[in-house]
Amino acid sequence: MKQITLAFVEDHKLVRQMWMTLFEEMPEVKIAGESGSLAEAIPMITEQQPDIVLLDINLPDASGLDAVPYILESSPKTRIVAVSMHNQASYARQMLELGARAYVTKNSSPEEIFEAVKAVMRGEQYICEEIRNAN
C-alpha cells in the first residue's frame, strides 16, 4: 500500500517534536517535511505535494485563514488538517469554509489525530470531539 505523505507547519519546536514522535507510530504515514512558518512551508509543500498538511492556525507570519489559500494554490491536491489550541467552533467552521478538510485541537488524543488523517484520506471532513461535544 502506498504511504500517506504528510507535512506539518508548526512554529512551536516542542509541538513539532511531538508530531514527529506521533507520526513515527503510524506506519501508513510518511513525513514529507516540517516548517516553522508559512514562508518556509510554501517551497517545501510546492516541492513535496504532500497528501496532507497539518497546519497550525497561529503561525508567526500568517493566520491559518491566510495560509489555507496559499497552501492550496501551491499544492491543489493537498488536504489540510487544521490544528490549534483554540477550541472555539467558529474557528473550525471558518477553516472548513476556506477549504481545510479537518479541524483538531492540540488537546485531542493520538487516536483522534489518526482518525482525522484517515477520514480526510477517505474524502471526509473531520471535526474533533472537543469541539463537537462543546456544541
Binding site: 516542542l14 511531538m18 506521533l22 489550541m85
Partner: protein, 475 residues
C-alpha cells in the same frame, strides 16, 4: 468776540448822525460794528450778540445810558462787557460815573476828539480781549483740575533731578494710603521698594523720554499693591500716571492657576489612559504567552502520556519526553511570573537588579548589555522609583531586542544631590524621532517618567542607534 475772530463793538445813540461819525472813526477790518438807536434796543442787542465793547450815549429818550449800564451789570452774560459813555461834560455825570469804579468803564466827551476816542476804544478792547482769554483759560484749568482730582489713577509731577514729588492728586491716597501732603516733597523712591529704585534708575540710563514699569508696592496699611507706572519726561520733570493693577494681576494669576490645574488634570487623564493601555497590553501578552506557549507545551505532555499508554515498547522514552517538556513548562511559567511580579529590589537594590537583568539577556546571546555606573554603594531612593526604573530598563531592552537589531546596549546610572540620571543606549538601526510616533512601549515609559515629574528624551537617527535618557528630580 465773533466766531470769525473779530471784535464786536456796539454803538448806541438816538441820533443816527452820531452813529455814523463813530462808525467812520472806529471802523477796521478786525472789528464788527453794530448799532442801536435806543436804550431798549441796546439791551436787546447786547443779549443777542457776543459784544466786546459798548459805546453808550448817555442822553437818550427812553432809557438813558446810565440805566442801560446798570441793567447790563445785572446780567451775567453782559456783566463784563466794558462800556464807554459818550456824554456832554457835566459835574453831575462825573459823579454818577464814579459809581462804576469797578470793571472797565470810561467816558468820552462830546464833541468827540477822534484820537482820544480811537485810543480809549483800542485800550479797553485790548483789555477785554485779554480778560476773555484769561477766563477761557481759567475754565480749561478748572476742567483739568476736575479731571486730575477725580481720576482713579495717580497723576503727579516729579522733579527729574531729585525725584521729589512736586504735585500729586488725591488718588495717591486712595491707592497707597498716603495723603498728598505726606507725599509732596518726598522722593518717589521713599514709597517704592529698593529693588524698584535700582530698576527704574537703570532705565533712566537709557535716557528715554518715556518710562513704563510695574512695581509691587507697600501701602500705608501694610498691604501690597501692583502698580503700573507711565512716565513722560519733559523739561526736567516727570509727568506721572500710575494705575492700580492689583485686581488685574490677581485675575491673571487665578487664570494661570486654573490653566495649570486643567493641564495637570489632562496630564493625569493621559497617564491613566496610557497606564490602562499598558495594563491591557500586558494582559493580552500574558494571555497569549499562556495560550500559545505554556498550554501547547502541556498539550504535548498530554499527548506523550496518551501515546505511552497504548505503546508499552516506547513508554520509557515517551515518559522521559513528558518530563522534559514539563520542565520546559515550569521554566516558562517561572519566567512569566518573574516578568509580572514586581522584583523584590529591596533585597538587592536597583544596581544589582539591573546587572542581573543584563546577565540574563547576555545568556541569550543576541544582545550584549553592560551596566556602567560610578555609584559603588547602594543608592537610597524610593523603592517604587527603583521598580519603575527597573521596569523601564526591561521595557526598553525588550524594544531594542525586538526592533533595533543592535549588538550592544549600555545602561548607565548616575546621581547627584538633585537628580538621578538614567540612560539606555544601543548601536542598532535607530529611527527618525520626528517621523515615528511613540509606540506603546515608549508611551508606557513616558507615563512612568511623568509620574515622577522627570524628563525623558529620545535621541536617535536612522543608522545611528538610539539613546533613551531619563532625568528624575530627587525630592
Amino acid at each position: 468776540m465773533m466766531e470769525n475772530g473779530k471784535a464786536v463793538i456796539l454803538i448806541v445813540d438816538d441820533k443816527p448822525a452820531n452813529i455814523l461819525v463813530l462808525e467812520s472813526l472806529l471802523g477796521s477790518p478786525d472789528r464788527t460794528l453794530i448799532s442801536a438807536n435806543s436804550g431798549s434796543e441796546a439791551l436787546k442787542k447786547a443779549l443777542e450778540e457776543e459784544v466786546d465793547l459798548i459805546i453808550l450815549d448817555v442822553q437818550m429818550p427812553d432809557i438813558d445810558g446810565f440805566e442801560v449800564a446798570q441793567l447790563l451789570k445785572q446780567k451775567k452774560r453782559t456783566r463784563d462787557i466794558p462800556i464807554i459813555f459818550a456824554t456832554a461834560e457835566s459835574k453831575e455825570h462825573s459823579f454818577v460815573m464814579q459809581g462804576y469804579s469797578e470793571g472797565a468803564i470810561d467816558y468820552l466827551f462830546k464833541p468827540l476828539d477822534p484820537d482820544i476816542a480811537r485810543a480809549k476804544v483800542a485800550v479797553l478792547l485790548k483789555l477785554q480781549m485779554q480778560q476773555k482769554e484769561l477766563r477761557e483759560k481759567n475754565i480749561s484749568l478748572q476742567n483739568a483740575a476736575l479731571l486730575i482730582n477725580n481720576s482713579a489713577d495717580i497723576i503727579g509731577i516729579i522733579d527729574a533731578e531729585s525725584f521729589m514729588i512736586e504735585e500729586i492728586n488725591p488718588a495717591f491716597q486712595v491707592i497707597l494710603g498716603f495723603s498728598p501732603q505726606e507725599a509732596i516733597n518726598k522722593s518717589l523712591f521713599y514709597f517704592l521698594q529698593p529693588e524698584d529704585e535700582s530698576r527704574v534708575k537703570e532705565m533712566l540710563d537709557a535716557r528715554k523720554d518715556r518710562l513704563s514699569f510695574e512695581t509691587y508696592t507697600l501701602c500705608k496699611d501694610q498691604t501690597w499693591k501692583w502698580l503700573h507706572w507711565n512716565i513722560v519726561v519733559s523739561k526736567e520733570k516727570w509727568f506721572v500716571n500710575t494705575r492700580d493693577i492689583t485686581e488685574q494681576k490677581f485675575a491673571e494669576k487665578r487664570k494661570q492657576e486654573q490653566e495649570r490645574a486643567e493641564q495637570s488634570l489632562k496630564q493625569h487623564k493621559l497617564i491613566t489612559e496610557v497606564t490602562i493601555q499598558a495594563q491591557e497590553k500586558e494582559r493580552t501578552e500574558l494571555g497569549r504567552e499562556l495560550h500559545d506557549n505554556i498550554n501547547q507545551i502541556l498539550a504535548t505532555v498530554r499527548m506523550y502520556l496518551k501515546m505511552s499508554a497504548t505503546n508499552p515498547s516506547k513508554q520509557e522514552e515517551l515518559i522521559a519526553r513528558s518530563a522534559d517538556n514539563l520542565d520546559h513548562a515550569i521554566e516558562e511559567i517561572r519566567k512569566l511570573s518573574k516578568s509580572l511580579v514586581a522584583p523584590s529590589l529591596g533585597d538587592m537594590g536597583l544596581l544589582v537588579a539591573l546587572k542581573e537583568l543584563a546577565e540574563e539577556i547576555n545568556i541569550a546571546g543576541d544582545l550584549k548589555v553592560s551596566v556602567i555606573t560610578e555609584i559603588t554603594e547602594s543608592i537610597k531612593i524610593d523603592k517604587n522609583m527603583e521598580v519603575m526604573l527597573y521596569r523601564i530598563a526591561q521595557e526598553q531592552l525588550n524594544n531594542v531586542r525586538k526592533y533595533a537589531s543592535a549588538t550592544h546596549a549600555v545602561i548607565s546610572l548616575s546621581m547627584d544631590r538633585r537628580h538621578l540620571s538614567f540612560s539606555i543606549a544601543d548601536d542598532g538601526i535607530g529611527f527618525d524621532t520626528t517621523q515615528k510616533a511613540k509606540g506603546i512601549g515608549l508611551k508606557n515609559i513616558s507615563s512612568r517618567v511623568d509620574f515622577y515629574s522627570g524628563d525623558l528624551s529620545i535621541n536617535s537617527e536612522p543608522g545611528k542607534g538610539c539613546e533613551l535618557e531619563i532625568s528624575i528630580p530627587l525630592h
